[in-house]
Structure formats: C-alpha cells, structure tokens
Amino acid sequence: MKLHTFKIGGIHPEENKLTSDVVTKVASLPKQAIYPLSQHIGAPAKPVVQKGDKVKVGTLIAEAGGFVSAPIYSSVSGTVFKVDTIFDATGYRKPAIIINVEGDEWEDSIDRSDKLETLANHPELTSEAIINRVKDAGVTGMGGAGFPTFIKLTPPPTAKAECIIINGVECEPYITADYRLMMEHADEILVGLDLLMKAAKVDKGYIGIEENKPEAITLFKNKTADDSRITIVPLAQKYPQGGEKQLVDAVIKRQVPAPPAIPVNVGAIVQNVGSAYAVYQAVMKNKPLFERYTTVTGKKIKNPANFLVRMGTPMRDLIEACGGMPDGENKVLAGGPMMGKALTTIDVPICKGTNSVTVLTDNNARRKAVQPCIRCAKCVNVCPMGLEPYLLATLSAKQNWEKVEAEDITSCIECGSCQFTCPSHRPILDNIRLGKSTVMSMIKARNAAKK
C-alpha cells in the first residue's frame, strides 16, 4: 500500500486513541441547552426567538447574521429560558440562547427513519438545491474551524473546483469521533460526498484516511470499489495531516499558496467526514445540524467514550456520563491536546465544531518550566508551513508587528507542532497566536481603510 503524506515538517505525537473501539453512545438530553451565537467563522447568528417561546427539536432559533455566517437550530424541545451571555470555549462571555428542556418533540419536517437515500433516487436535486439546503441547515466545517460549508461549495469566480477531498485523517491524538462516524455511517458519508461533488460540479472525490485506521480504509475501499470517481487515499501517519492545506498537499500533491489563497485556488474543496454526514442529513433527511459525534477522553477518565450528542449539552454532563472528573489537577480541553482550547469552565456547551472533550490530569496537564531558547531549530524543522516559529514567537512577544507580518505569521495554521517539539518548553504557539490575531486585525483595519 503506497502511503501519501505532506512534504514539509510534521511530528509524531503519541496517539492515545483510547476510544477507537468504543461504539458510539447516544448522550442523554441535558436539562438546559445552551447555544452560543458564534459557533462558526464569520458573523454571529441573530436570535429569532424570545424568552418564553416554545421550540421543538429542529426549530430555527437564530438566523445567519451575514453572508459568512450560519443559522442555528434547537437540538431540544422546550421553552426559551433567556437570551443572555455565557462563557464559551474562548473563555470570554459571548451571547447565547438558553433553552429549558421539556420532553423530546421533533419538527415534523425531519425524516427520522434510517432508510438510506441515494442521489440516484433524487434526480430533482440540482447543485443549487443542494447548496441552498446545506446553507439553510446551518452546516459548517465540523473538524474544528467551523467555516460555513455552503461558501466552500461556491468558490470565487477566479477559482475552479476540480475535486472534493473528504478529511478522514483525524491526526489529533485522543480523538476518535470521526473514526467512529466512518465505521458506523460509511454509506451516509459516501452519499454526502456524492452530494458535495454534485453541488460543486466536480466528478472527482477523494477520501484521505491515515494508516492507523486500517479498518476504515478497508471499509471505504470496499464500498467504493466499483465507483471510479472516488479514490480512497491511505496516508502515512503524521501530524498535522488533517490540516486542510497539508491534506490537499498529501492527496493531490498541490500546495495552496499563502493566505488569502484557499484550497479551491488549487482546485480542491476539503470537507470533514462529519460535514459530509451533516450534508447527507441536511439534504436527504431535511435535518438541520444540531447533533454531532464527540469523543470524551483522557487517560484518567473512568469510561472514555464516543457520543452522539445534541449540541448545547454542557460538557459537564458528558464528563459525568464517563464517570466524572478524575482526582487530582485536571485540565479540560475543547478539542485534543495539540489544538484544543483549555477551558475556564466545564459548563461550556458542545458546539458545531466540538470534536472532543479531553481531560488531562496531573503531569499531563501541567506545563514544564520554560528555559531559554537554545536555537536548536527543531521548531523550524517541524513547521508544516515552512515558517520559523522561534522567530515569530520572539517578534510577537516583543510586539514587533510589522516585522512579524513580513515573516508570514498569517500563514501559521496554529497546529502547535513547534511548541510540542520545543526542548525548552517555550510557549511558542501562545505567542504566535497573540501575534497572528493582532496582525490579522491590523490587516483587516488596513483593508477597511482602503475601501
């Protein structure tokens, strides 16, 4: 089996996939569900419900707040308790809709049967119809960044899509949500890919899966054996292969230029397996995005598990369902240990992009003492974007924003390989994130001033 991978840098963190063989459980309904209005990249959604309104599962509660935005649907039935602010995964107070759960009554429009609908049986679905349905259902990237899916399917006029790449890499340690989804809903994912290809008007589809998931590779290979349009691409195990640009490089051997270029500039549209599944449900089952697969994991967690969970469920409920918080000092991350965000409270709800809740305990949670940079260049060698992380971090810490912009800080994908590999335990990524966000807002202000 020939394995592909991306060309520059990369690391090999411990896998720690504790839950690969744990069959997904349906999480129980929360007492109260919380929906932050910013679950995606772009403008926050605008609430369309008020305190006291009755909602069902699948009722629209917030509409898209701009072109780059996505609507939000209720995942529970009950009464709107209030529209207020809550602490979300960023650690800041953000506006959110809070709903008190009563029963489990679904909107009648949602098809709750398990029957597999294929594109062949639905000739009425045009490219526009699929894109509109995906847009209305609030589908966003489900691998973490949360970019609205319909925008990716309508590339700018300067670019032409040639293929869809489904991201089944899941290179982040600990997380197995995508893997379980692939094992449990392969057919739906493939129909989702079909829909995405039709929507983007392309006739080539790839599914990239890392070699540490041989069963998923075999499963998808068997299911697509007689479909010449779709290629399953086994990938060598290397982090951050699940990064969009790295995946495009690994699968079709093309490198996306520096921002503002996006994958479609080299002909590729990348979608997570979770997004493909959500597209299937949105188009074929008329089911908006309000549920997802999430892994709750950690070496000291009693029963780490994969959940099919309604969005808005507080992480606290899921951790309780896995046996509660372990003894000792814990750090809870929304996401995995490489890219996850450390939380200030576990009352943060599961959102569209929450692929896991990772609990690190004691020594795994603690950071080691920072020592001076000895310029060993390990960070330079592992950077998958060909940047110089030590330099970006130092310039950011010194607030030399012009210089750090000239050193291409905006190309950083924040994968954390540099910080992982640093023998002096320096907070390289922390400083780069600070610098990157400052430079991004400077660029935004500059562009606004030009207009």
């Binding site: 520059i8 640009k245 490089d249 490198q255 996306v256 230029p257 520096a258 270029a261 020592q371 001076p372 940079c373 000895i374 310029r375 060993c376 260049a377 330079v380 060698n381 950077c383 998958p384 974007m385 060909g386 940047l387 110089e388 030590y390 291409d408 190309s411 002096s424």
Partner: protein
C-alpha cells in the same frame, strides 16, 4: 545537552586511555572550573538562579578540555574556563544568547595568550605523566613544515589513515586531548545522528568541503597533504562534529547550515595551509559564528505553497 555529553563519552574514554593522568586532570579541572564560574557569575554578579542542571556548563567544560594539551597547568585551564564562561557566555546573558561558541573562545584566548604552552603537544601513551610529559610533532605541524619548506618528503613521516583514525601510534599521536582519535569522534557523530540531536548538514558539509578542497590542492602540488590525512588530522573531526554543530551559534535552516559548513571547511583549509597557525578549525568556526545571525536573517526555509518567482 546531555545527549551531546553521551556522544562525547567514546572520545573521553579514549583520551583517558591515551593520555592517562594528564587527560584526567585537564578534563576534570576544565569541567569543574566551567561549572563553578557559571554558578558563581549567575549567583553573585547576575543575581539570578544558577542553571547548572541544564548541563551546558558541563558540556562547555568538556569541550574546552578536549581542545587543550594534556600537559597544561591547572591555572591556565582556569583562566580559559573563566574566559569561556565569563566573557563568552554570561556576558551575553547566559545560555542561548552567546554569539560565539564559549569553549572555542576559551581555547583561542589561551592560544594567543599562552602560545608556548598551547602548542606543545604530549605524545600519547605516557599514562602516569602530567606536566612532565614528552611532547612531539602533530600531523598538522608536519604538513605545515612541508608547505613552508616546499619539501614533500616531510609528509612521508605522516601516519597512515588507520593510525590517524585510531590515533595510537608513537609519532603522529600527539595533539589535544579530544582530537587524536577520529574514530571515537565519528562514533559520537553516528550517535547524535541516530538520536536526531543534530542533522548531517553541518558536519558532513565541513568534512566534504575540506576533503574536496585539499584533494584539489594535493593534485596540483604534492607538498599539500593528501585529503584523507587532512580530514583525519587535527581538530577537524572534533570541530565539525561537536563545535560547529553547537545549536546556539549555528544557523537555523538546513540551507543556512550548508552555507555555514562549506564556509567553515574552506576557511579551515585556507588557514591551515596559508595562515601562520597549523590549525585552522577553531578560527574558522568562530568566524562563521559571527556570520550566523546574518545567515539566519537572509536564508529562510521554503514556505509552504511558495510560488517560485519567474
């Protein structure tokens, strides 16, 4: 740091075997002095927490000791250690901030301050002697004599390649503590490459450059020694493997490391053959240390998705 120290163990053991008492005294006093000065300067002058535990002072001490003759008096070693740690490292803010390799600075300071003591090289095998060890000519001083006199027959006295690799013959086996046995140093290189402590770029580019350059010279005029003898003699292996690869003072990118390595190789050959000293490695490395920030500024890694300008 400790990985590099492990890689130095073969050379350290061989030095004990060849130089006996002298090697033990010089190495121990160099390490002890470096550790002491680092601790004392951090505590009493910089008033910050001493960081002996990172192993960098031990490493500097070992490398400084390796660069000294085994009959050097302890007080001179102490001066070298004070210069290496005090001026070479702590003045710039300690670990990670020094522009030059501290051990090499110490050695070169001693070389220009005590030229007589620093250029008399005990012959291997005098295990129980220290200050009273008999000295002899190093392979490099023979090569220099050949060039100066224009008499290529001097080179016939050079030991053959096997003896240079092992460093144990009676005549050619003179030199600094760490440099006489190329094989032990190469073992260290293999270990560091295997453990990915360093990449091949710096050591291999230095050795290859010296080999090619001296081979061309040898072909042009036989008063220049053959390339095999050149790469196995003097501090070349020690410098290429352990001194030039110092993280702090070498370039960050592979491309930059190749520029740095090739330049060190070329400078070494130039100084060895046409300079006033028989040995050029230390000066070549220090000169290129000075260019490292410049190389880091202008030699960038290839960015992901970089469009080649036409």
């Amino acid at each position: 740091m400790f990985g590099v120290i492990i890689a130095l163990i073969p050379a350290l053991l061989v030095s004990f075997l060849y130089f006996g008492l002298g090697s033990v005294v010089v190495t121990l006093s160099s390490v002890a002095a470096c550790v002491f000065f680092e601790w004392a300067i951090a505590k009493y002058i910089l008033k910050k927490e001493p960081t002996i535990s990172d192993g960098s002072a031990i490493l500097t001490g070992l490398l400084l000791g390796f660069n000294l003759p085994s009959n050097l008096p302890i007080w001179i070693i102490f001066i070298g250690a004070l210069f290496a740690i005090g001026i070479g490292k702590m003045t710039f803010g300690g670990l990670g901030n020094n522009p030059f390799n501290p051990a090499l600075l110490g050695r070169c300071f001693l070389l220009v301050s005590f030229p007589a003591q620093m250029t008399s090289w005990p012959v291997v095998g005098q295990l129980s002697k220290y200050l009273d060890a008999e000295t002899g000519a190093t392979p490099l001083s023979l090569m220099k004599t050949a060039i100066k006199t224009g008499d290529a027959s001097v080179l016939n006295k050079l030991p053959d390649a096997t003896h240079l690799l092992l460093g144990n013959n009676a005549l050619g086996g003179a030199g600094t503590i760490g440099e006489v046995c190329a094989l032990a140093l190469i073992l260290g290189l293999v270990y560091m490459l295997w453990k990915k402590i360093i990449s091949w770029h710096i050591p291999i580019s230095i050795i290859a450059t010296v080999f090619v350059f001296t081979w061309l010279l040898h072909l042009a005029n036989p008063v220049y020694a053959n390339p095999i003898a050149e790469i196995l003699s003097g501090g070349l292996m020690l410098g290429a493997i352990f001194m030039a690869t110092d993280y702090v003072t070498s370039p960050m990118t592979h491309k930059g490391q190749l520029i740095y390595g090739i330049s060190i190789g070329a400078l070494t050959v130039i100084i060895r053959n046409w300079g006033s000293y028989p040995e050029g490695m230390s000066f070549a490395i220090l000169i290129m240390n000075a260019f490292t920030p410049l190389i880091n500024t202008y030699v960038k890694p290839k960015r992901f998705g970089e469009v080649v300008k036409k």
